[in-house]
Symmetry: C2
Subunit: 207 residues, 2 copies
């Protein structure tokens, strides 16, 4: 954030609310049309604000994009990790994470699917701050997921020689397979396949 925007924002609750509204709209748009579609102009139109009003919050397109990615990550944490933390550590939590992961884009009304997943594709081969940001967030998610699997080893529910990194990779793979199958064969069939794959994954490693 540039200093002017920071100054404009800090003292005002109204300013924070407006910023939150802009970012909610930005995440919606990024889900449907990609982060590259996020311009000060398109967001001004979408939120009914003036371009100069937008500029007071985000000094550039890149700043807006990075803030939208932070907001997407925040929503993901709120929708997937926070509820799962209410489940006891171990397999129950891993399972809660899995179920939450499948449904979170719909629960967050993100018609275009998971924006972080979309961003990985969008910036896969476009070096720059957005690519760095999405890689960093995805890596962090991977570490958190592996940690949850590790806890299920520590509770004794999974075998002691379980490779938590591999299980986390397979978990993520099934989620990605589900997003694809959701498009091809519809949600009901896709959920059945994803759950069966997840069950097989857990059964293989269960003690």
């Amino acid at each position: 954030m540039n200093p002017a925007a920071a100054t404009a924002l800090r003292p005002s609750t109204k300013g924070e609310e407006t910023r939150a509204q802009i970012l909610a709209a930005a995440v919606q748009q990024a889900s449907a049309a990609g982060f590259e579609s996020l311009t000060i102009g398109s967001l001004a139109e979408k939120t009914g604000m003036s371009k100069s009003g937008l500029f007071a919050h985000f000094g550039s397109k890149l700043e807006l994009q990075l803030a939208a990615m932070d907001e997407a990550a925040r929503q993901f944490t709120e929708q997937v990790f926070m509820p799962a933390l209410k489940a006891p550590r171990g397999l129950k939590r891993v399972k809660a994470l899995f179920e939450g992961w499948l449904t979170w884009p719909k629960r967050a009304s993100l018609a275009g699917g998971c924006p972080l997943d979309a961003a990985s594709r969008e910036y896969d081969h476009k070096p720059g701050p957005m690519r760095d940001a999405v890689i960093e967030r995805q890596k962090q998610v991977g570490r958190e997921l592996a940690k949850a699997v590790q806890m299920a080893i520590e509770t004794g529910e999974l075998k002691a020689d379980t490779n938590a990194t591999l299980v986390a990779f397979e978990f993520m793979s099934i989620v990605l397979g589900f997003y694809r199958a959701d498009l091809l064969i519809g949600s009901d069939e896709a959920v059945k396949l994803a759950r069966a794959a997840f069950e097989r994954l857990i059964e293989t490693h269960r003690r």
Copy 2:
């Protein structure tokens, strides 16, 4: 294809060559920047042809996009399915498909990754002929893959009660997980995880 383009194309080997060159460039561009980036103007610039020359081959942006998707599917078949058909039917062929799938974007010099995978994301929530086309192609690929798995059941290598559709779903999930991990942790580590996941998948069902 509009009738004028068809007439212009059919009798001329030169015309067919030019068309193939345009489509090769189009698939490259779609891999890196998406199928929506494919305009007559951008392809004219990329291939050094005139816009009117491009129009003689493809009467509209949509026609160009659909032809590029056909070409991407053709390249995929050539790079993944054709070599695997040289392996004997059964597990060897399933394994050949898996190895070919992981590496085909690189072997086809598609810097932006698998264009059909990219298109599933791009058109996931954009109804229209491109979405219909990518869904149709992805479904076809899924059926071919399930058929290859079914053959490994028929050879007796996989258990008789193996669910070929589920194995095909898991196979595709691992491929998608690999594409993601390739970005996050690099090719070498990603290949190790993908192969370990694939081995576990096969071992679970091996007779």
